[in-house]
Structures are given as C-alpha cells and as structure tokens.
Symmetry: C2
Subunit: 326 residues, 2 copies
C-alpha cells in the first residue's frame, strides 16, 4: 500500500517554494502520495511550475510564523497548515506528517492532536546524522530541556526501535552522553539514567563523551534535550565557521584558489560530519503517529529526504513497534 | 618582581620529557622562575638535555597516575608532585601552580591546600580558546557537573575578572549557554541563572546558543560543568574526525596530495577553531591561589603556554581581583 504523507507546505524559511519543490521531487522518486497542506492559491501557483506532479492539496487558512510561541498558537491557529496536516494523520487520512515550520508549534499541536504512546512520558526529538560508521540517532535534541532519568531510558528504547526499523540496524548500540566513560562520571541525571539503562533490554554500551559523537561509536546517543540542543548547534556553528574561514583563505591568493578548486570534492566529503541536512528531518518519537520535523532552512532536497524518512517510518509501523517495546 | 611558578614535572602523558622541555622554553622566553616538582633523578636526567636552563627542582616522591580517583589520592598521596607543588603556593614559595596531570586530583588537592575565595561556593575550570574575535573563556568545563543558579552567577563574575585582567579586555561581554536567545529559553537552571545575571554588575548580553560559541560573539561563556565538558569534547572530536578524513582524502591521489601541500597553511589556519592547545592551560578559578591545569596530552609548547597564563594571572593578582568582585 502506498504511504500517504501530509506535508506542511507553508513551513520553513523558503516555503512554499522549497516545500512544494521537495514534494515534487519525492513524488517522482519514491512510491508515495503527498498531500500539500496550506494556502491553496499559493500552493497551486508553485505546483504550476511542475506540471507533471500528481500531488493533492488540502487548504488551510492560517500560517504559523517561525517566531510565534507554541502556547499562543495552539489556541489561536486551529486552521493552520500544521493543525490541519496533523488532523489528517489523526483521522487516518495520511500516515505521516512532515513540517519544516515552527518546531515548538509542531510539537505542541502533535501532542494535542496525536497524543502520546502509552508508557512514554515525554516525546523526544531525534536527530539522524551521518558518521563514518553509518547513521546515528541523537535524542533528545530539544523537546525536553529538563529530564528525569526514566525519560532517558524511554528515549533509549524509542531510539533503538527507530534505528532498527527505519535504518535496518540490528540491536543498535546505545550510548549515554557523559563527562567520562566510567559509570560514576556525569551529573546526577546521567548517573541515575546509567543505572536504569544497565538493567534494561536495550543494547546499552555505556557512557560516551562528546568526542565519540561524530565517530559513530554507537548507533543511538541519549541525552537530555538541553545538552542535545547545545551539541547540535555547536556542531553547526563549528561547521559554518570552518567553511567561512576556509572560503576566505582560498580567496586570499590565486594559488590557494586553484588548489582549492582541485580539492573541493575532497573538502566537501570531509565536511560531511557537519552536514545535518543529509538525512533530512528529525523524527518526533513517542507520539501516536509519525511526525517528522525539518530544519527551518530546509531546501527542496532536505524536504525530499524528510519525506523519505516519514515514508520509511510509516511503512515500518514505527508507532506500533515503539508501543511494543515500552 | 619575577614570578615563581611551581610546575608539576610528573603530570601529563608525556611527562617528564615534555614538561621539563616546556619549562625550559618558558624560562628562556619569559621573565619567570620555574620550580620543577617531582622525582628528582628523572627530572635531572631530562634537564641534562638542556644545559643552559636555570631551573630549580623540588623533590616529590609520589606520582599521581592519570586514572586514579581523586578521593583515593588526596589521602594516599600527600607526597605527590601535585600536593608538594600546591604546598609551595600555599606557603608563598611560589605564586602559581601548573599541572598537566590528573585534573580531578589537582582540583581536589587545590581545594584542600589553597581553599576557596570567600563568596565563591564552587571553583570552576575555565577554558580559554581562540575565536576570530579574540580569546574567549568558557566556564565551567567540568569541575561542577551539577550546578545551582548562583554558581553560574559566580562563574560569570570570576570569568569577567579573569578575561579583563589576564587578556586586557575591558568590560567583557558575558553570555549564558541556552537553547535560544529569548529569556524564556533553556532549562530551569539556565532560566534562573538568567534572572540573576540580568541584575548583576557583569556585562551580561543574554543567552547564546552553541553555534555562537566558536564565533567570539562574547568574551565569557557561562554554563554548568556537564554542558561545558560535553561541548569541549565534542569540538575536539569534530576536529579530530575532520583532520583524519581530510588526511585520508589528501592521500587518495597525487593531484589531491599536491593541492593539499599548497593549501596546508590555509587549512591549518582554518582548523584553529578546534585547537584548544593554543592558549594552553585551563585556569581553576575561585581558589586562594593561581592554579592552571594543562591537557593530559600537553606538548612542551602547551606547557610553555600554560606557564605564560600562570605568570599573567599571578602578575595581575587575579585572586585579589576576584575577591574584590564577589
């Protein structure tokens, strides 16, 4: 059965241009049905640029701005593309929702509309990124800035299931971010979570440090949402700074410029550790429905990748698998 | 008056070779007197390689291993180079102590031997790193994995004083690591610390995100020791991975190799954001005495830079300045 995915056409800094374009690319490349949700006239105008695309449109009158507060939005924007799109999933008219819009609003609406899986106290945002050893899932990257030890245990279970089902990794290795490898290292939260993880059925390999994150030492990395968010943004910052400095250096003389042109493909490959768009989209795990959040700056390619992740998660019945695990 | 610095000759992965060499370099380059503390025969053998150096030696029978637990060491190793070196500072026979040894042991011994500055509840480890806008101090990077809001306020005051006195930066800008710029962003600890910082005399510019850390948006970055430690190690990990990937790429064909040779100086400069040895040494702030901790992997150059930082801190009477600020 072809998966139907509701895409928030209005979400993201470059919407609806990039969202519609991403939907078109995905519809061409994957076996998937896409429903674009948002202001019909704007979507139709964008779709006109891609006449061969077979994509349906569901109108939603309101748009959630990137800077609006989630708490204000949930009451005031029940006709937004986010609310309408999630409504399609909750009624079974779509099997997944994808948005590159206001992530706080998506989280708030999805909790309200889809609800939590039984046994999961807090849904978590999981970021998939590439490592030399394959994809790695880091969670939570910002949904829960204050965590209790059992939340981290639940993140580990959800993350293991996701990586196993969506990325085909058997018994994924789970690591807990801490300040050292020994059981006794880390803050109180981490020390208590360590004890819970050690006795659990997940394949917990122990504490890992920040330096192990990019190497692919483990398949699932668990931490509180504050730490995860800071790590994610630090990586982005270091990557941007490196690119900017390198660009300046390469433009400083002709010889460097020539050598830079020769080396560009190699430099690009080396920079992949900093590229979080590659796997596109961040699953919001723990909900009664598939919901993928894209980066606000998402390009058509990133939207396409987020749609692929949503399709895989829906096909692999990730919600049911997580319910069975917890 | 020439500053006298006690250096733990036995501390670090490459001690006493690199520590003695670093001391020799520092004694040649700066107006400073160095006392090497540790096993006299081993130190003398190393010093023999540098016959012109005027450096004194104080014998200490015991060596603290890098993997020993601080709590065990404080009772069992009162004759260690760390304990003896700190003793010199507490008795006024040296104005600063530098060690690249077991940082947990240095922290425990220094708290015990030197004591805290009045008004400082927890000493903090401050990492100085280079940014395009100049040196930036990040604290705490691991001394306090669980923090209360007022600790972060005290870190901000100590950090401001250090950057002003040691790096000559007038009214340093202080940022608080959070998950977003708005006052309401971050975990409970950060939200409460934000309120305290807003009402304080330090030049608090507000929350910053992980991405702002490497750019030099602020001069002092405040966070709990868990977050700081994770950020530090993540940066190191990303840097190492990048160097490894780049090296492999450059060796993959002759053209890349040649272009790489041409570009090497530019690549090295671009990589500086990841190089935490440049400013050498991490001050342990809040103690009644100057104490600088070097990286375990410290080279002679890193030791020399740590000695320079110790010299500056002692000359600027950093302990007195911090006491006056809090």
């Amino acid at each position: 059965m072809t998966v139907r995915i509701a895409l928030d056409a209005m979400g993201g800094d470059h919407a609806p241009r990039e969202t519609v374009h991403g939907a078109v690319l995905a519809a061409r490349e994957f076996d998937v049905e896409i429903i674009l949700v948002g202001r019909q006239p704007e979507i139709v105008a964008e779709l006109a640029k891609h006449p061969d695309a077979r994509i349906s449109v569901v109108h939603a009158d309101q748009v959630v701005d990137m800077h609006e507060h989630a708490s204000d939005v949930v009451r005031a924007k029940k006709d937004s593309s986010i609310a309408v799109g999630l409504g399609l999933v909750s009624r079974g008219e779509a099997q997944a929702f994808v948005s590159a819009g206001n992530s706080g609003a998506v989280m708030a609406f999805s909790l309200f509309t889809l609800g939590r899986i039984k046994g999961i106290e807090r849904p978590a945002l999981g970021l998939i990124f590439g490592t030399p050893a394959g994809p790695c899932l880091l969670l939570d990257v910002g949904a829960n800035v204050d965590c209790k030890p059992q939340y981290l245990l639940q993140f580990a279970r959800m993350g293991s299931t996701y990586v196993e089902k969506v990325y085909g990794k058997k018994t994924p290795r789970v690591g807990l971010i801490s300040t050292g490898e020994e059981d006794t290292k880390g803050n109180q939260l981490v020390q208590e979570a360590h004890r819970l993880l050690k006795d659990d059925h997940v394949n917990f390999v122990g504490n890992i440090e920040g330096k192990d994150l990019p190497t692919g030492l483990v398949d699932v990395v668990v931490c509180d949402g504050f730490t995860g968010n800071v790590m994610l943004k630090l990586s982005e910052g270091l990557g941007s700074l490196l690119v900017a400095t390198l660009r300046k250096e390469l433009n400083s003389n002709l010889l460097y410029k020539l050598a830079g042109l020769v080396l560009m493909p190699a430099l690009r490959r080396a920079m992949k550790s900093f590229d979080y768009t590659e796997y596109g989209g961040v699953p919001l795990l723990g909900l009664n429905g598939v919901c993928i959040i894209g980066h606000g700056r998402s390009s058509a390619r990133a939207i396409k990748n987020a749609i692929r992740a949503a399709k895989l998660a829906a096909e692999q019945q990730i919600v049911q698998s997580i319910s069975e695990q917890v």
